[in-house]
Amino acid sequence: MVELCRKGEPQGFSQLVDSYSSRLFSYFYRLTGNRDDSNELLSGLFLKVVEKIGTCRPETFDAWLFKMASNLFTDYIRAKKRHEKMLDQMAKELQTETQPAQTDGYMTDKLTRQLQRLDAETAEIIVMRYYSGLSFEELAKIRKEPIGTCLSKVHRGLKKLRQLMENGND
């Protein structure tokens, strides 16, 4: 499939979308809590894949793909922060109108809501580990961190998440 994509065959990309879209959409959805943003990120990611597939080695495709997803999410967070900063400078009523927290498609399930309460980095590593299916060695390589650090971060994050889920005051 990856080889087909590298040759620029539309059929290869079609298979790629069918195989990975569910996991990637879930990854984005867990982190953003928003279907529209997840759709946009998913679409952006696949277009980036089309553009950069030539630089990827088939044997490390999953790690390469999720690294790119992580970069896109980081850009999304930055853009969101800039947007929020801008909103803070605007009048209070306008800020209230544009805050997306209670709109449709936002934070629709409990797990996603609690993930939003973790810091972004911890939430991302937990979600990436679950949806990418990558080993800790691969995760550590993507994040440029020692394996022990990755293990600790995931462990602490999952414990905190479980506490939040059990307390359940959302």
Partner: protein, 168 residues
């Protein structure tokens, strides 16, 4: 979707490298219960419409890339052709410029030949040639020319010598 199987492969072995055995076992259980949360609260899937849109966008992008690649090939070819044309023109120009230089040299030589001193010298050579020709043909009368002067001078020397002789 059960996502926990292959990523947890060898997780016990990995944890035992970093933590004491009882702690490693505890962490392994925490990972498992964390993963169970994801399985209990599955994330939604993207809509079919979203996937169709993505596939259409990909097809458009692939076509654009193909067009860009072709344009790049055309541009490269045009640039190569332009370079060859310019290089040929420069070479031809240099070749043509060498000929006028040769003419200039010839003209310069002609100017030298037209110099007055050289013309005089040329006339003297011409005169010597004609006298030599006349001697060869037996036409030399001794009336004029360099040879005549020398004969006259020789005659005067003989007369002077004779006078000196007879005077003692």
């Amino acid at each position: 979707m059960v996502m926990t199987e292959f990523k947890n492969k060898n997780i016990g072995e990995l944890l035992s490298k970093f933590f004491p055995p009882d702690h490693a076992e505890q962490i392994k259980n925490d990972f498992a219960s964390g993963d169970a949360l994801f399985e209990k609260f599955p994330a939604p899937n993207p809509s079919q419409q979203t996937l169709t849109d993505i596939k259409q966008k990909i097809t458009r992008q692939l076509e654009n890339q193909k067009r860009i690649r072709w344009t790049a090939v055309l541009v490269k070819t045009a640039v190569a052709a332009a370079i060859i044309t310019i290089a040929s023109a420069v070479i031809l120009l240099n070749f043509n410029q060498k000929k006028p230089n040769q003419y200039t040299k010839n003209e310069h030589q002609a100017t030298l030949w037209q110099n007055e001193e050289i013309s005089t010298f040329d006339a003297e050579i011409e005169q010597l040639n004609s006298e030599l020709l006349a001697i060869n043909l037996g036409e030399e009368t001794g009336a004029n020319g360099i040879l005549t002067d020398r004969v006259d001078q020789l005659e005067l020397e003989i007369i002077e010598t004779e006078n000196t002789f007879w005077k003692g």
